[in-house]
C-alpha cells in the first residue's frame, strides 16, 4: 500500500473504530450528561473519520468513498490501533457488545485524546493541505474530549476506594496497548512518526496518573499491530455489527 495512504488510514480508522466503540454507550451512560458527552465525542470522531476516509479515498484514486472504506473492507485492511477496538469492559464476553465499564472507557478516552491532540498539533503543519485542514479543525474538538476524560480519570482515580480500584484495574488492562500509540512510521511531507509524540505523551500521562493517584504498571514489552492490520479477536465481532447493514443490503442508502 502507498505509504501516504497507509498513514492517513491509520489515523482515519483509529477515529472510526474509537467512535464506533463509544457509540455503544448511547442510552446506557450512568447519567444523562455523560450519555450526551459520550455521544458527542463519538460524533466528533466520526466526523473526523469521514473527512480522513474521504481524503484516503482520494489518495488511493480507485473511486472508493468514505462509506465504501468504512463499511466494505475486510478486517485485515483496517489500520486502527488495537487499543480502540477493545470492548468497553475488560470482562465483556468477547463480542464487544453488552459489557460497559465507565472507568475503562474514560481512561481510554484520556489516553487517545491526549495522543490525538499531540498528533493533530503536528499535522496542522502537514505538507498535505487537506490533512492539515482536517487536523486544524479536529484539534479544537479533541481538546474538549481531553479535558472531559482527564477530569473523569482524576475524579474516579482520586475518588472512593471502589472508583480508584476500578480505574487502577482499567489501567492494568489497557496499559500494554498504549505502546502502539507510538508505533507507526512517519511519511515525509505528510506527518511525523508517532514515536515523536512519545516523550510528551508520557510526560502528560505521568502528570495525570499522579493527580489521579493511580500507579502505572511496569512497562510492557507487548506490541500490538493493528496499524499493520493485525487485530484482536474483538475486531471481527465489532465489524460484524458495524458492517451488517451494508453487507446485508449492498449499496443501501438513506
Amino acid at each position: 500500500m502507498d505509504s501516504k495512504l497507509n498513514y492517513v488510514l491509520q489515523l482515519a480508522d483509529t477515529c472510526l473504530i474509537h467512535s464506533q466503540r463509544l457509540s455503544e454507550w448511547a442510552g446506557h451512560a450512568p447519567v444523562l450528561e455523560e450519555d450526551l458527552a459520550l455521544s458527542n465525542i463519538a460524533l466528533d470522531l466520526l466526523g473526523q473519520a469521514r473527512a480522513l476516509l474521504t481524503h484516503a479515498g482520494q489518495i488511493e484514486g480507485a473511486g472508493r468513498d468514505e462509506d465504501r472504506l468504512a463499511f466494505l473492507r475486510e478486517e485485515r485492511d483496517y489500520r486502527n490501533i488495537v487499543l480502540v477496538e477493545l470492548p468497553n469492559a475488560a470482562a465483556s464476553p468477547s463480542d464487544g457488545g453488552g459489557g460497559r465499564d465507565f472507568a475503562l472507557t474514560m481512561l481510554r478516552n484520556a489516553a487517545v485524546s491526549i495522543w490525538l491532540e499531540l498528533l493533530y498539533e503536528r499535522l496542522q503543519a502537514s505538507g498535505d493541505a487537506e490533512l492539515a485542514g482536517i487536523a486544524a479543525k479536529s484539534l479544537k474538538e479533541v481538546r474538549y474530549h481531553r479535558q472531559h476524560s482527564c477530569d473523569w480519570v482524576v475524579r474516579l482515580g482520586d475518588g472512593t476506594g471502589e472508583s480508584q480500584a476500578r480505574m487502577q484495574a482499567a489501567l492494568g488492562v489497557l496499559w500494554p496497548y498504549f505502546n502502539e500509540l507510538f508505533a507507526a512510521g512517519g511519511v515525509d511531507g505528510v506527518g511525523p512518526a508517532w514515536s515523536e509524540l512519545e516523550p510528551e505523551w508520557r510526560a502528560r500521562w505521568a502528570a495525570l496518573m499522579q493527580e489521579a493517584t493511580l500507579t502505572p504498571p511496569r512497562d510492557s514489552a507487548m506490541q500490538s499491530r493493528g496499524i499493520d492490520g493485525i487485530h484482536s479477536e474483538h475486531m471481527g465481532h465489532m465489524l460484524g455489527t458495524m458492517q451488517f447493514l451494508q453487507r446485508t443490503y449492498p449499496g443501501g442508502v438513506w
Binding site: K137, Y144, Q147
Partner: protein, 155 residues
C-alpha cells in the same frame, strides 16, 4: 442576477438545530458568488461530526432555488470558530436562553468561564458537562434559580 436579493434571502435561513439564529449569524456562510448558471454558496461546517451539515446545505439550496442552479461548496480551511458569530447572533442566542461564547476560542483552551444565568441573571452557576444536546454546547445549572441552561462553547 440580483446578488443583493440572493444575499438577503440567504441571510434569513435559520440554523436547523438552533432556529433562533441564522446561518449568517453563526458565521457559517463564507461567501456568496454569482456563477454562469446561478449562485455558489461557500459554507464552513461547525463541528466535524455535526449532523446538521447536510441539512444546512439542503436548506440553502431550497432558499436560493429561484436564483438558478445553487452550488454549495464546503470549505474546511480556515476552520470555523465561534469568534465568527456576529454580535447580532450573540444577542439572539442570549435571548433564546443559550449563553453565547464568553471568550475567544484561543482563551477557552485554559479557562472555564464564569457564566451568568440567562434566565434570572444569577451569578452562581456551575458546569454540569462540557457537552450538551448538540456538539456546540455545554450543559450548566444556575444555583440561584435551579434551572439548567446551555452554553455555546468557544471553539
Amino acid at each position: 442576477m440580483n446578488l443583493a436579493a440572493a444575499r438577503e434571502r440567504l441571510a434569513a435561513v435559520p440554523d436547523p438545530e438552533i432556529p433562533a439564529v441564522t446561518l449568517v449569524d453563526l458565521g457559517i456562510v463564507r461567501d456568496l458568488r454569482e456563477t454562469p448558471g446561478g449562485v455558489e454558496v461557500v459554507l464552513t461546517p461547525t463541528y466535524s461530526g455535526c449532523p446538521a451539515t447536510e441539512l444546512i446545505a439542503d436548506d440553502v439550496r431550497a432558499a436560493l432555488a429561484e436564483f438558478g442552479e445553487v452550488v454549495v461548496t464546503m470549505q474546511r480551511t480556515p476552520a470555523w470558530t465561534t469568534d465568527w458569530i456576529t454580535p447580532e447572533g450573540r444577542e439572539k442566542l442570549q435571548q433564546y436562553g443559550i449563553v453565547p461564547p464568553q471568550c475567544s476560542a484561543e482563551q477557552a483552551i485554559r479557562l472555564v468561564p464564569k457564566l451568568r444565568c440567562p434566565r434570572c441573571d444569577g451569578g452562581r452557576t456551575e458546569q454540569l458537562s462540557r457537552f450538551g444536546s448538540t456538539a456546540c454546547k455545554s450543559t450548566w445549572r444556575c444555583i440561584a434559580c435551579g434551572e439548567p441552561f446551555e452554553y455555546f462553547k468557544p471553539i
